[in-house]
């Protein structure tokens, strides 16, 4: 291209006057506060960790983690292997407490209630905080019975009510259309991606406030992964979602906020767009650009 430069106007750069183009409001949190996202106290499912530390016997896995995970949003936990992200995730529904020698200090609160408090029943906590694992783990039962399992043991006795919950949960997990004609067949006959969505439907049947996902798509092919990611996008309007992933592109695609853990410490929590383009901390920058970890 030649000779096409502009030739009008005098001595000023071609930028819009400030009154014509309003600058967007900053959504970047202050460096002092690891809390991100809009205030969401009025939505159930807000998680707050305060100086939470965790030990497996003599080995300390988490150091003074303080962060708020807002409701109705997806928060991704990233970091190299052994950084404590899965430990933190599993601490939210007290799954780590089952490990002999495990102990913690500090607190994790769900809607202001200490999940490790004396008044918190682990069973009802795990009903409110559902979990999906890396390797799908449906029960060796029918598709229907997998989803109906939670409501049945929680005492939703009416058959018609359970039918309703099963359909609703399978619909929410974007699985209904694929399985509605074979609800009585074994869940183990489904594909990997379908089994994983069935596990999500099983968790949703308990009507949780929070859904924890530990590498939910790492063993799935790209199409099945995309379905899980689309599902998370749909569910974020109703639930607090916390996802651990090694796949940074996945964290960038699905989450609203991202927390970076390194050597058991929370290095940075930020709006996802900000964290993956211009993180605050040098360590985060080094990790996301592949310079360590």
């Amino acid at each position: 291209m030649t000779g096409t430069a502009g030739t009008s106007g005098l001595g000023t750069r071609d930028s819009a006057p400030s009154d014509q183009r309003a600058a967007p409001q900053s959504r970047v949190p202050s460096p002092q506060s690891p809390v991100v996202g809009p205030p969401s106290a009025h939505h159930p499912g807000t998680i707050s960790a305060r100086e939470f530390s965790f030990w497996y016997g003599p080995k300390q896995a988490l150091f003074d983690v303080t962060m708020t995970i807002p409701a109705r949003a997806v928060t991704a936990l990233i970091g190299p292997s052994g950084c404590g992200k899965s430990t933190f995730l599993r601490s939210i529904n007290r799954l780590n407490a089952l490990i002999p020698g495990a102990r913690h200090t500090g607190a994790i609160e769900l809607d202001g209630e200490d999940v490790y408090g004396a008044g918190m029943n682990p069973g009802s906590l795990r009903q409110r905080v559902g979990m999906v694992f890396q390797r799908w783990n449906p029960f060796p039962k029918s598709i229907y019975d997998n989803v109906a399992y939670g409501p049945r043991i929680n005492g939703s006795a009416s058959r018609s009510r359970i039918d309703e919950i099963v359909e609703q949960s399978l619909r929410r997990a974007a699985l209904w259309d694929e399985v509605k004609d074979r609800l009585r067949q074994s869940a183990l006959g489904l594909s990997g991606g379908q089994q994983q969505r069935l596990c999500i439907a099983r968790a949703l049947a308990n009507e949780p406030e929070v859904l924890l996902l530990d590498e939910p798509a790492s063993a799935l092919d790209p199409i099945a992964t995309q379905k899980i990611e689309e599902l998370l996008y749909e569910l974020r309007a109703e639930l607090t979602i916390v996802i651990v992933t090694h796949n940074m592109q996945q964290a960038a695609r699905v989450s609203d906020h991202t927390a970076f853990f390194y050597l058991g410490r929370l290095v940075e929590v930020n709006e996802t767009g900000q964290l993956f383009t211009a993180p605050r901390e040098e360590q985060t920058e080094a990790y996301i650009t592949g310079r360590f970890g």
Binding site: T2, T7, G11, T12, R13, E285, T289
Partner: protein
């Protein structure tokens, strides 16, 4: 490919992109120098050389762009690497535009040669060219070294070039008012001045990209100042 080799390959390609940008910038600076020289010395050969040289800059732009696009598609970079590649795409386009402005100046030189009227405000045009070229060199240096402070310096230097452009306008206006025969060459020289002023603007863009790369902050369109003003919370009185 092992992760270590893939990582090294990615960084080798980033280095190649940096080198290509530096070559492109050096070529753009040369073209501006040559164009201004052809104007001041009324040298037709040099003006023709500028017009021919621009083609080379266009090819360099395509090469840089292709490299940046393939890095984005194949490596999915993040953080600083992402900021570098996004900015590099913008900078190659800015440098290509610098080449266009050099061509515009060379074409004005050719028309002025044909007019045979000597009214060039040489010191101002020379000063503008020198400043615009320096800004361009420093902006690229700031970008390659990720030096945000130098990037900001380049942006500040634009005001002086704008002031020189206003001066040239006033000088030429005086000529035109005094003697109608100078209107044609004066308009031609006004275009030259405008082109140099735009080169400084493009250097300013690159300075802004250097700040974005180094600090992750957008400073264009006075975005920073606007944010600062918005963050001032009115205090209750009484």
């Amino acid at each position: 490919m092992s992760p270590e080799i893939a990582f090294r390959h990615f960084h080798d390609q980033l280095q190649t992109l940096k080198e290509r940008l530096l070559e492109m910038s050096a070529r753009a600076e040369e073209l501006i120098d040559l164009a201004v020289e052809s104007l001041l010395t009324r040298d037709k050969e040099k003006a023709d050389a500028v017009i021919g040289g621009d083609r080379e800059l266009d090819m360099m732009e395509l090469e840089c762009e292709n490299l940046a696009v393939s890095l984005l598609a194949l490596q999915q970079p993040m953080g600083r690497d992402l900021r570098f590649i996004i900015s590099a795409i913008k900078i190659t386009s800015d440098l290509e535009r610098v080449g266009d402005h050099a061509v515009n100046i060379a074409q004005s030189a050719l028309r002025l040669i044909a007019l045979h009227v000597e009214i060039t405000p040489t010191p101002e045009i020379e000063d503008m060219a020198r400043r615009a070229r320096k800004m361009l060199a420093e902006a690229l240096d700031a970008f390659i070294r990720a030096d945000g402070a130098l990037g900001r310096e380049v942006c500040k230097a634009d005001d002086a070039v704008d002031a020189l452009h206003d001066s040239v306008f006033r000088i030429l206006l005086t000529h035109m008012m005094a003697d109608a025969r100078t209107i044609n060459p004066s308009l031609e020289l006004l275009l030259v001045s405008r082109n140099l002023e735009r080169v400084a603007d493009l250097a300013t863009n690159i300075g802004e990209d250097a700040v974005f790369l180094a600090e992750g902050k957008q400073i264009k369109h006075h975005f920073e100042e606007q944010q600062r003003e918005r963050s001032v919370v009115p205090q209750p009185t009484g």
